[in-house]
């Protein structure tokens, strides 16, 4: 019952999916290294960043409204000559206020999808895309292909000023992709899209990233979107970078800071499809040789691609509220996933308790009521079972995203 | 003994005569009691304006044609049309002193004159040049000014080496030039008329008389004009090279 299957535009997606799957083992190029050490003072906020970021695929940028995400992208893009300090990419100095060095925006080969689209009002949809395509020489993508991927075929001769909000965003991203830059910056590119279009676009973006080996920085307010698309997360808060970590770790760190609804973020290996049961089995490999692999089931992955998915890695989210704890092995329940685990931390909050558990060295987070915590007399080191429904295992593309629904 | 003036007396005067008129009017008897306004413009402009109701009392034209037209159009007081001076033309260069008209003989550069089709001084220049058989030679090198004042400025700025200008312009600015003998061109008779719509005909008449007065006519000579009686006369302060022929 995947949305993609129901969609009438699925052929476009399958085209690119056939060539390069969303979860295909990426043929990694050397990561791009962004060295940032600058300050940019506004009236109410000083953006002050000192951080090296190594971008191998898509790095997410997460932070509150007004925290400075767009400004950070503008500096990297070369639109803020006023920034004091240094910015360099892969060892090349992009700007350095001390040495009065400044490589112009158009020379940086960096693409930027603006938060406010900024389509050229004098050009049609097609001409806007052609604008980006004309000025580069790689030509790995054609305008026709990108039009199809972003479902803009029907609108290609339309005046861009008359497009709907979501249509504008798609044109803007298509235009930036066609310029095939060395680094692509995306500023909330899908905020005006409905959920199903958004998940299609995310999948396409991810596939293109891998096909072109194009590193990206992706700003979003949605962690589930970021978890699906990014392999690393940068957290921005009040003008500073407060955290840079691989995506799962970063999300877990946000858990303990109480910044979002706590969740377990992990990547699992696809083991087999069980069409009769409507499930796909993933394995949580044993990290110690002594313990055995655990199985985790989720609703079966889309049929057309499923066979070739075997043994690939799938990014998954399980919300802490979806995981329950049982002292005995659960029976007679529709809940398919239960793993033996041991409690490592119990954090009591005002209204609930956040329990960190380990199963095969993988951390899981369970959020339970204070009442349950009391009743079950949980203590650290207790051996328990964690249980969660197959439906609780979320992967942005292959099962329905629950977020934003 | 004069009735109190309600409006100033407006004298419309051709631009080239305006400086001269100003000098003359400086000696107007009881000039403090009379409010006179001098309005100068190109003769053609003034003519058009009078034709369309301009509130002028006296009109000093740089030619005789416009006053005649006004007379035919019955826009002037009967018998007020008088010649008040004759204009003279002179060859002039602002770059160097000239020896005589013969300097033009083998000259192939630019020569400034007023527009022969519209300006009386231009027409006179054309006649003189024709008379001197120089017209075919200079015809294609002419810089023609809208009026004689423009021609004067063009020569004065040294942008044109030679020009045929009004002698009055030279006299008033103390420049040296070669006067072209009056017999080489039809007299440039400058006429004045009193406008019919004037409510101060008496005063206008008074000024007209004043300009035609003997002593003022004498003054005109110093200002580079020929007095009205002089036309059959041979000029006195002769600087023209008479060996020209």
């Amino acid at each position: 019952m995947s949305r993609i299957d129901n969609s009438n535009n699925s052929s476009a997606i399958r085209n690119i999916s056939d060539e390069q799957l969303a979860v295909a083992q990426p043929k990694r190029a050397a990561p791009s290294t962004l060295a940032l050490a600058f300050k940019l003072a506004f009236s109410h906020l000083e953006i002050s960043i000192k951080q090296n970021i190594s971008i191998s695929a898509i790095t997410g940028i997460y932070g509150d409204s007004g925290s400075g995400k767009s400004s950070l992208l503008r500096v990297i893009a070369g639109l803020e000559p006023r920034a004091k300090g240094q910015v360099s990419l892969n060892g090349t100095v992009l700007q350095d206020s001390d040495n009065k060095a400044f490589i112009k925006a158009e020379k940086r080969q960096i693409g930027l999808v603006f938060q406010d689209s900024r389509l050229f009002p004098h050009l049609s949809v097609y001409q806007n895309l052609a604008y980006g395509a004309k000025r580069q020489t790689n030509r790995q993508l054609t305008i026709e292909k990108v039009l199809a991927l972003t479902q803009l075929n029907q609108l290609q001769h339309q005046n861009v000023t008359l497009l709907s909000g979501g249509e504008k965003q798609r044109v803007s991203i298509a235009r930036a992709l066609l310029a095939e830059p060395k680094l692509l910056l995306l500023d909330e590119p899908f905020s005006a899209l409905d959920k199903s279009t958004k998940s299609q676009m995310l999948t396409i973006l991810k596939a293109i990233q891998q096909q072109l080996q194009l590193p990206m920085l992706y700003v979003s307010h949605s962690l589930s979107e970021l978890q699906y698309i990014a392999d690393q997360l940068v957290v921005v808060s009040a003008g500073k970078i407060t955290q840079v970590a691989p995506i799962h770790q970063a999300i877990h760190q946000l858990n303990s800071r109480g910044e979002t609804s706590p969740k377990t973020s992990l990547s699992l290996t696809i083991a087999e499809h069980l069409p009769d049961y409507g499930l796909t089995r993933l394995t949580l490999p044993a990290k110690k040789s002594t313990s055995k692999n655990h199985n985790i089931y989720l609703p079966i992955l889309e049929q057309s691609n499923s066979q070739r998915l075997i043994s690939q890695q799938l990014p998954c989210i399980i919300y802490a509220r979806d995981i329950s704890i049982s002292k005995t092995k659960p029976e007679h329940s529709s809940i398919v996933n239960h793993l033996p685990a041991s409690i490592s931390v119990i954090q009591y909050n005002k209204t609930n308790a956040l329990v960190t558990l380990k199963a095969n060295e993988q951390e899981f987070y369970a959020q339970i009521s204070l009442w349950s915590a009391k009743r079950m007399a949980l203590t650290t080191e207790s051996k328990v079972y964690i249980q969660f429904k197959a439906n609780a295992v979320h992967s942005y593309y292959f099962t329905e995203p629950t977020a934003n629904a | 003994d004069k009735p109190k003036q309600t409006k100033p007396l407006r004298i419309a005067v051709a631009a080239n005569f305006a400086p001269a008129l100003k000098i003359l009017l400086a000696n107007l008897p009881n000039k403090d009691a009379i409010n006179v306004q001098m309005i100068s413009a190109a003769t053609g402009t003034l003519y058009l304006q009078i034709k369309h109701g301009a509130p002028f009392d006296l009109f000093l034209s740089a030619d005789s044609m416009r006053p005649e037209l006004l007379e035919q159009e019955k826009l002037i007081i009967a018998d007020s049309r008088k010649t008040y001076a004759y204009g003279q033309i002179a060859l002039w260069s602002a770059t160097r002193a000239l020896s005589g008209l013969s300097e033009l003989n083998h000259y192939s550069g630019k020569l400034a004159i007023a527009n022969p089709d519209t300006a009386p001084y231009g027409k006179a220049a054309q006649q003189a040049l024709t008379k001197l058989s120089l017209w075919p030679q200079v015809q294609n090198n002419l810089i023609t000014g809208m009026n004689i004042n423009q021609t004067f400025q063009q020569v004065r700025s040294q942008a044109v080496p030679f020009g045929i200008v009004a002698y009055s312009q030279l006299a008033m600015n103390k420049y040296q030039g070669i006067i072209i003998p009056p017999e080489y061109y039809q007299p440039i008779s400058q006429q004045l008329v009193i406008i019919k719509s004037s409510q101060q005909v008496k005063l206008a008449q008074q000024i007209s008389d004043f300009i035609l007065q003997e002593d003022n006519q004498e003054k005109l000579v110093q200002l580079g004009y020929l007095p009205i009686k002089s036309i059959p006369l041979i000029e006195k302060n002769n600087q023209v090279n008479t060996q020209y022929d």
Binding site: E80, A105 | A15, A18, G53, P55
Partner: protein
């Protein structure tokens, strides 16, 4: 009357004429520009061209035709006379009307382009906040096109000050009424008063420079706030 005081009188007349003309130009030019900017029709270009036409005729020729029109024997001249009781040609009103016609394109065209570039977005937003047409004009259109209004005002005013042919022809150079600075300046040159002419030119230039600088200073507040990071 000395030359200086005559020039002063001309200066006053000039300022009066230019000020009145500019005010009239803004009053009639603004709605014209708006109409031309928002009107969607094939005939629009024709009217745009008509507005620009006064430019094509040399001022003296334009003045000639206006003189024909304003003369007491022509219909417009007669209508004016019966309406106001005084003659149109050679009056202050005449030179104002002439200047308005002559300077119209300099006011209408910059405003029209500004209105066209403005688009409907902000107007729609203002309407949704309850602002009616007049209100929208003063609260949104005017401040957003302020720079163009200043250009229009400056061009219109300066062009009127420097105007010569039309004013001379239909005004008749009457001191205190239609004798303006540009004519006075011309007269000085014609009368070989070069010293006066130079002085007056220099004075006019410096005064205009100061005036225009002040006007443009007004128009620059808004731009200062812009970011301006990518220069061309």
């Amino acid at each position: 009357m000395t030359d200086i005081s005559a020039d002063l009188l001309a200066l006053i007349t000039t300022l009066k004429m230019a000020a009145v003309t500019t005010v009239i130009l803004l009053i009639i030019g603004t709605p014209m520009a708006w109409y031309l900017a928002k009107w969607q029709s094939r005939f629009k270009v024709f009217f745009e061209a008509v507005v620009a036409l006064p430019l094509v005729l040399p001022p003296t020729v334009l003045g000639f035709y206006l003189l024909l029109a304003f003369s007491p024997t022509s219909l417009p001249g007669q209508l004016w006379q019966s309406a106001t009781g005084s003659q149109l040609a050679f009056s202050f009103s005449a030179i104002v009307i002439g200047s308005v016609l002559y300077s119209l394109p300099f006011v209408v065209q910059p405003l029209q382009k500004a209105f066209e570039q403005l688009g409907d977005h902000h107007l729609e937003a203002a309407a949704m906040l309850g602002a009616g047409p007049i209100d929208r004009f003063f609260s949104v259109v005017l401040p957003l096109t302020k720079a163009s209004f200043i250009t229009a005002t400056a061009l219109g005013f300066a062009h009127t000050v420097g105007e010569f042919g039309v004013v001379l022809m239909i005004g008749g150079n009457i001191p205190g009424e239609t004798r303006v600075l540009s004519i006075a300046l011309f007269d000085h040159v014609e009368a070989f008063n070069y010293a006066n002419a130079h002085l007056l030119s220099a004075g006019l230039l410096i005064a205009s420079l100061i005036l225009l600088s002040l006007v443009y200073l007004l128009g620059n507040n808004f731009n200062k706030k812009q970011q301006g990071t990518v220069k061309l």
